[in-house]
Subunit: 185 residues, 2 copies
Amino acid sequence: MNPRAAVFSGGDNGDWHVQSITAACGETLAEVSRVQITDSQEPMYPDQAVWRLQGVTSNVRYATQAEKQQLSEKQAGLGRTEARLAALIPIRKTADWWELAQDRRRQIFEQASKHIRIGLQYLPAIARRLYHCRDLSIGQPFDFLTWFEFAPADSPAFDALLGELRATQEWQFVEREVDIRLVRE
Amino acid sequence: MNPRAAVFSGGDNGDWHVQSITAACGETLAEVSRVQITDSQEPMYPDQAVWRLQGVTSNVRYATQAEKQQLSEKQAGLGRTEARLAALIPIRKTADWWELAQDRRRQIFEQASKHIRIGLQYLPAIARRLYHCRDLSIGQPFDFLTWFEFAPADSPAFDALLGELRATQEWQFVEREVDIRLVRE
């Protein structure tokens, strides 16, 4: 398997307890009590999963060298003891988005929507890892999975971050978005 | 499976007869007599394949709207009767390439290397389809597979195209490249 792959399995197993599953846009995902994250295609309890979402970390698609450097200097890693809360946000964008050329997508992503600039304001409190799933060999229901970790005190900031992003031009190209909130056991 | 996925199986089956397999850079692939192309993960003769390369067509990564338009206006589709020759060119780029931010990769790809401008000179004679394989869930030996089709009379032009691309700055980031030439039965 790809060493950059991960699987998020929703069911009755895993270290992360589900607090809520809400559709921000389009169809939701089935209710489950826990999410298990595995870095392989063979989760420990595959038969018991209600849903499984796969993704792969990859190279940056839009960030410039300066932006990549800023993000890298400011961001925190996953697994901080105080970051007991998490969110898993699967997103699918429209066919129109994917038909756009690179310069048009970059223009909407950053010049119009300030995606990176908004994200930078919430670092290092909100730690983040992006997984791509649009180009897996097995078709997936989403294009991206983003995993966020933060301390309970930063929960309002996280909601503000989502509010800012969802108001952007970029989000007019989001056709499905599910917001899964979790707490570590 | 992903509707954009394809599998190239090297073995004794398939419509495309192998004329030669040459490593342009790095390790070669095993000699086989034919290549079978399937649009699914279940080739007809999976047990008989000596090697299998998977990929997925995807959105453009570097082309601007103007370049995408130019390519689209000038390029021919696959499957032309006169295009009896083909080439399958799997490529892997270095870890350094993938660590570069988007603006640096674009700068090398087009401003320094003129990848699109070179390619445009050979349209519509050389038809082309690009498959991505770096972000599949099952790890792959290459990052891209490019499939080219052309008439026998355009074979020297195809060699010239490869020569131009291999002399670019972009190709300094290629660490493995195999050149498989084929003829349709």
